[in-house]
């Protein structure tokens, strides 16, 4: 399959390539349709293993929280499996366990939903899907369980107050996104979670778990017609949205550098540097993504790792990444180093970034980055679980169905100039948000 793309790239037999690019020979023959309720479905049929993986996602992630009741989105999702239709919490768990099925919440800034892994044999599959259908469409949000989960969330938040990595992350979001919803932690804050009431969950569920916004991703040992019936079963009872989904406010870039230092007795300093980064559908996606491999995404092959770890022994982990979201998700550099080397490591990270933005990668680095990402492409889709995650992303962010086929082609096309241009326009070393959690006396 990758071979098809590569052959096409080399311009062999244009006509044959057009034929080859048809669904039958595509990397992944993804089938897409909408349910009668309007939900989007993406399906890959594969009978290699007698199992089924699926996920149903909604635009109900942490960014949908109100600032003063943040944590609602996460609690809503968590509570859905704690009571649905006539089923109680224990019954749902016991029934899932008795067929060896796994149902798990999926949650990030943009998305919330449930994933299901089950055997594809009729007894297990039907039972598992029945449970998921109830959880998605008829959650009851029991008051007592709500109170319990609220308490557990608050305890977790209190514990987090003592952890340097948690403090660093919270402050970093705050600096990057100010009052924007992307500044909110999925867990919420102690003050906001304390304010949440059960009714808030019910309301959140009604508002954001709608059929028209649902994305159903399916891969496994079933036929197209079975997948069709399953998608109907999982979405027919979802509510129909009466008003348009509210759009998120735009993300503002930082106008100045922002530095925040938090004292903590940990033996290591936690350093985060970054700014709002890229969207899923971003014209600069590929130059920024490929460039980041060279800067800090390519493990031992990356400059941050080379400069901070391999040359100087300052850190075990030193890397950078983009987290592309519906809007500009974070670009982040992260380093942990012992207190004595905090300032040195911070400076090396800043210098490495500044130099990369100013000069871009070398031709050799670009070549190595392309070879890794293109050559390693099959590793991104070598299991049903990995493919399921791509189906969800493609469906949720409305990426083209050929996204995976196009991916290596898009990478191959990126030029050195495009990387330099995109990085210099989009990434501003002189306007970074920097968080350093370190420096209090040791315990």
């Amino acid at each position: 399959m990758t071979n098809v793309s590569v052959r096409c790239l080399k311009g062999l037999l244009a006509l044959a390539c057009m034929v080859a690019a048809s669904a039958a020979d595509a990397t992944l023959p993804i089938q897409q349709w909408r349910t009668t309720s309007g939900a989007r479905v993406l399906f890959v049929e594969t009978h290699d293993l007698p199992m089924l993986d699926l996920a149903v996602d909604f635009p109900a992630g942490a960014s949908r929280d109100n600032a003063d009741t943040s944590g609602t989105a996460s609690l809503t999702l968590g509570l859905m499996r704690s009571g649905a239709a006539a089923l109680g919490e224990d019954e749902i768990s016991e029934r899932l366990a008795s067929i060896g099925a796994e149902m798990s919440g999926r949650f990030d800034m943009d998305r919330a939903g449930y994933g299901l892994r089950t055997l594809s044999s009729a007894r297990e599959r039907d039972e598992a899907l029945g449970l998921l259908a109830a959880v998605l469409q008829k959650p009851t949000f029991p008051q007592k369980i709500f109170e319990r989960e609220q308490q557990r969330t608050l305890a977790g938040l209190r514990e987090g107050e003592t952890r340097p990595e948690v403090l660093a992350d919270r402050e970093f979001r705050h600096l990057l996104y100010g009052g924007h919803p992307y500044s909110q932690r999925g867990s919420g804050e102690a003050e906001t979670v304390a304010k949440i009431r059960r009714e808030g969950l019910v309301d959140f569920y009604r508002r954001y778990f709608n059929a028209a916004d649902a994305v159903v991703s399916i891969i496994g040992d079933i036929t197209r017609s079975e997948a069709g019936a399953i998608a109907e079963q999982l979405t027919a009872g979802l509510s129909r949205r009466s008003e348009p989904l509210p759009s998120l406010p735009p993300v503002a870039q930082l106008k100045t550098a922002q530095v925040s230092r938090i004292a903590h007795p940990a033996t290591q300093a936690h350093i985060l540097i970054g700014q709002p980064g890229i969207k899923r559908l971003d014209p600069d996606y590929f130059p920024l993504f490929l460039g980041n491999y060279v800067l800090g995404g390519g493990g031992f092959a990356s400059r941050l790792n080379e400069e901070i770890r391999q040359k100087r022994g300052y850190a075990y982990s030193a890397y950078s990444y983009f987290n592309p979201l519906a809007l500009e998700g974070p670009f982040q550099i992260a380093v942990q180093t012992k207190k004595d080397t905090t300032e040195d490591a911070l400076k090396v990270a800043q210098d490495t970034l500044a130099k990369f933005v100013a000069q871009g990668p070398t031709p050799q680095e670009l070549d190595a980055a392309k070879q890794n990402i293109i050559g390693g492409f099959p590793l991104r889709i070598d299991s049903n679980r990995k493919i399921l995650d791509y189906l969800s992303i493609i469906g949720f962010y409305r990426l083209p169905l050929t996204y995976l086929d196009d991916f290596p082609v898009q990478i191959e096309r990126v030029t050195l100039e495009q990387i330099k241009d995109a990085w210099s326009r989009r990434i501003r070393p002189e306007r970074m948000a920097t968080v350093v959690v370190a420096g209090a006396d040791s315990h």
Binding site: I99, L119, R152, A301, Y316, N372, I374, G375, G376
Partner: protein, 463 residues
């Protein structure tokens, strides 16, 4: 990378590991021993055009001696620092340019190195892996830098993580003689005083083909792989391995308790019981019963600890159990929990003990037993979705000293466990004379309040 010396937290993961190669037997597995004593195992899986190559050395932190703890893991790091043929960093760069991913892990029982790549690049991985089995450079300058890196790793994994610290102290209390008492990453003192000669000695002693297993899984042909293995590894001469002494932990004569103070908000309690480990896949009974017992206590949301302690009585915010069925050394059965608001570690301990009492008095229900068995069966299928885990499982079993193809049999034996056997192992092993209890005593941060960004740092100033 480092494999946690502590039990895998989720039984589902454990089940997945347990079952990976059982499921694998749908497709052929080839095994051969080269003339130099190296074992080669190939698991074909043609679903995707990828391959994973792993070399497992039967040496881990349990083979270390006092004063040089952490050397097994240190050597793992040094394996990336160049050979006579490949300069520093070139190994990783070469694998990366081939589109590969690579890493390594060290545990108490083994050290393993792996590459995941397109199937056409397999030969490259084998060639490089064979090269560093014998030609490692081990330069002083690289060693000096890498030991700093490892100390940072220790700070991040253990020193700044209260639960890890607790577990480290707990292990050193449970075992008074067995090497499992020392952390895989090593005590900080030993890392600070480690010499290049220590790493070199380790390499020369243990990195030999007759102490290694090559596992290749993926879209490969077994014959081809065996030929490549012969070509690259077959030429490396065998070495006389050091004698391995049997180390049996002396009997415990009563309950042991420790307290660990660390910056944290919530207290935490761990109870660890000595328990038998799987040695004879065919004839052992108790380890399988303990595995099922663990599933009944903490196999899923439907299991007892979560249901009773977290959901029903609200004594705990979390409650878990775990059991490490497969080890070169001895095994433990763990129970742990974080008290809920207004509850104490004593309350959690009492509630965990009450669960043991109920188990022993009343046994387990058929439904509970069937749920655990259903999960084992399903996990066996799910594990086949990952070529990596299939290779992982084969390598682990072989290196631990169990038949690499015994997963099927293990799954069968688990299905045979009876309610009475589960009750019996609970009665026999979850007793005070086997028990060590560790408690995390949380210390508030300096100043006694939440850290906040300091005034002068928060400035939204231009840099």
């Amino acid at each position: 990378m480092l494999t946690t010396p502590f039990p895998i937290r989720s039984v589902f993961v454990a089940l997945t590991l347990l079952c990976a190669s059982a499921a694998a037997f749908a497709a052929p597995v080839a095994q051969r021993t080269l003339a130099n004593g190296m074992t080669v195992i190939v698991k074909e899986d043609h679903r995707s055009p990828v391959a994973v190559s792993m070399v497992w050395y039967r040496v881990g932190s349990m083979d270390e001696v006092s004063g040089t703890t952490g050397v097994a893991h240190m050597l793992e790091h040094m394996m990336f620092k160049g050979t006579k043929k490949m300069p520093v960093g070139e190994f990783s760069r070469t694998i990366a340019r081939a589109g590969g991913r690579e890493n390594a892990f060290t545990s108490r029982d083994y050290t393993a190195f792996y590459q995941q790549l397109h199937k056409s690049k397999l030969a490259l991985a084998l060639e490089l892996e064979a090269d560093r089995m014998v030609n490692l450079s081990l330069a002083e300058e690289e060693f000096a830098k890498e030991s700093k890196v490892v100390m940072e790793e220790r700070r991040s994994r253990t020193d700044d993580d209260p639960h890890s610290q607790l577990h480290e102290q707990l292990m050193a209390t449970i075992y008074i003689s067995h090497p499992y008492r020392s952390p895989v990453i090593g005590w900080m003192n030993d890392l600070q005083n480690m010499q290049l000669a220590d790493a070199r000695g380790w390499y020369e002693k243990w990195y030999a083909p007759n102490n290694a297993t090559l596992v290749v899984a993926g879209d490969v042909e077994a014959d081809e792989v065996l030929k490549l293995a012969e070509k690259f590894f077959g030429v490396i001469p065998a070495r006389v391995l050091p004698q391995r002494k049997i180390q049996t932990e002396p009997k415990q004569f009563g309950i042991k308790r420790i307290v660990v103070k660390a910056p944290a908000e919530l207290p935490y309690l761990v109870m660890a019981y000595h328990a038998p480990v799987l040695r004879d896949v065919e004839n052992d009974r108790e380890p399988y019963a303990l595995f099922v017992l663990n599933g009944i206590l903490d196999g899923s949301d439907a299991s007892r600890l979560n249901r009773e302690l977290v959901r029903k009585s609200r004594v705990a915010d979390s409650a878990n159990s775990s059991y490490d069925l497969i080890n070169r050394g001895p095994a433990l059965f763990f129970l742990d929990g974080v008290p809920a608001e207004g509850k104490t570690v004593a309350d959690v301990e009492a509630a965990l003990r009450e669960q043991i009492r109920i188990l022993v008095d009343q046994g387990v229900s058929d439904e509970e037993l069937q749920r655990v068995k259903a999960q084992v069966t399903a996990s066996q299928v799910y594990a086949r979705d990952s070529v990596y885990y299939q290779a992982m499982r084969i390598g682990m079993l072989q290196t631990i000293g169990l038949p690499f193809d015994s997963s099927d049999l293990q799954v069968k034996k688990l299905q045979e466990v009876t309610a009475e056997q589960v009750r019996e192992v609970a009665r026999k092993y979850l007793i005070d004379d086997n028990l060590t209890v560790a408690v995390l005593d949380p210390q508030s941060l300096p100043g006694g309040k939440r850290p906040r960004p300091n005034a002068e740092g928060v400035g939204r100033d231009q840099r």
